[in-house]
Symmetry: C2
């Protein structure tokens, strides 16, 4: 055992103590001789010994909070992992439904080489982000070297606008997935879509599934399963209406109607981004 | 249609526009003659016309953010619903993993009659809360009249310490469920446990399932299904280790070991609370 003290905290946080044990990471410790190869997903997770993993999670005004907190609950529970909550300044950003989120690092201070670059979704703020040169050039730069370039929900359209999904299979919120080709991505079925080192999730709650999966990619299946147990992730929805196919055409049409204006604004932003990228 | 303007926001938020339509709430509109009966769950959801639903969600230092943000993403998407994020002061509280959360109302300003009283979990802060007379008397007061008294994760132990679960079936995080009898509750199986107007959820991610269910209780199945589709809640975990039974004895023992110190502290807090309530 490397560290036997209990953090005396909540299940998820206290996992760190457990996860730091040699026992939990026996296999991964053996793999430290495999060098990290930026741009290529690793089949074997690196050791929790050594420099911490660097995770950069963008937050922004008008984002959807659950898109971020779902993955964060997993990533921040991984051993020897630094989660940087990134924005232009350190002022709180106002997410959807008036939830204020606090960055803990500016874009300028973000490490150059990240293990994970992550962008959450959220229609109004996301549309602005797709047209924000400062954010797009930051993402293009860090994304060019990050080990994993990732998103949940409409965050994939921001990655796309930054030129990071050209020729990659990707997904987004089901209502916005059709916009992906405008920024050069290939829309694909699936709650989580992996193509080389790009991992994109579907809408909002897909962030929990993404958090579980990226934990496994970073620290191995055992660590991910411990986090799943700590977060008691054994979903049992009372209904089965989480996709258009399951919800049926009437419910879907009703929701699409109320989403139409946002869809059109995001389409226009994607067209502009695509033109700047020389795609459309 | 009562309101056809699109909010032009994210899927979840934009739902409000859709949900305000007469079409969506035909059945519920017809039920407005049924008076609300505090303390008794209603089979038929009230109309979105009339005074807004009053939802009081407690936040506190050392809470687990996902416990709160999961249900919040559903509750804040319901039509004609006010979500009050409550704490002693309006200063931000520091949740687990250094996430700062902002209250938008003090306990003193909270409406006397709530449709939903909700408490999230999180071991270190939760233990302090179980011994905090100001918070416990607030919960006992609002909980005595609230239409639904609810929690996710170890929030149920706070409800219990406030005397709100005496003789009620309830659940908690799987690692802390055994403590419920100390505050007079009857531990029950199930990701969500409903007993009369008490609705308690399991650990952390159970808050998503709780959010979906309470949406249906408040505004009907149709509204809940629209939110499920908007939040794309169609879970597909990469692993199946979300409960001790599924994770198996080895993984569970490993995690329990790291949670033992927190469990003991929470047990002592439950014993003290139980004594004050005349239970143990």
């Amino acid at each position: 055992m490397l560290n036997r003290r209990s953090f005396g905290k909540h299940a998820g946080a206290a996992l760190a103590a457990s996860l730091l044990s040699k026992q939990a990471f026996g296999q991964q410790v053996a793999s430290t001789t495999t060098p990290a190869n930026p741009g290529t997903p690793q089949a074997v997770a690196p050791s929790p010994i050594g420099p911490p993993l660097q995770v950069g999670m963008l937050i922004y005004p008008g984002m959807w909070t659950l898109d971020y907190i779902g993955p964060q609950a997993f990533l921040a529970g991984l051993p020897n992992t630094k989660v940087h909550t990134l924005w232009k300044t350190l002022e709180p950003v106002v997410a959807i439904q008036d939830v204020k989120m606090h960055p803990n690092m500016t874009l300028a201070d973000c490490p150059k080489d990240l293990d994970v670059l992550f962008v959450p979704g959220g229609t109004p703020g996301t549309i602005l982000l797709m047209q924000d040169p400062e954010v797009l050039s930051f993402l293009a730069d860090r994304g060019s070297r990050a080990r994993y370039v990732t998103s949940v929900c409409t965050g994939s359209l921001v990655l796309g606008a930054a030129g990071l999904l050209k020729g990659y299979k990707a997904t987004s919120h089901w209502n916005k997935r059709d916009l992906l080709p405008l920024v050069g991505a290939i829309p694909a079925e699936g709650r989580i879509v992996e193509d080389r080192n790009r991992i994109t999730g579907g809408g909002v709650t897909a962030g929990i599934d993404f958090g579980l999966l990226i934990s496994a990619r970073l620290r191995g299946d055992h660590a991910a399963k411990l986090l799943q147990l700590g977060n008691e992730y054994d979903p049992h929805p009372a209904f089965d209406s989480g996709t258009p196919a399951k919800a049926g055409p009437e419910l879907t049409a009703e929701l699409e109607k109320s989403l139409a204006a946002g869809h059109e604004k995001m389409r226009l932003a994607a067209v502009v981004a695509g033109k700047e990228l020389g795609i459309t």
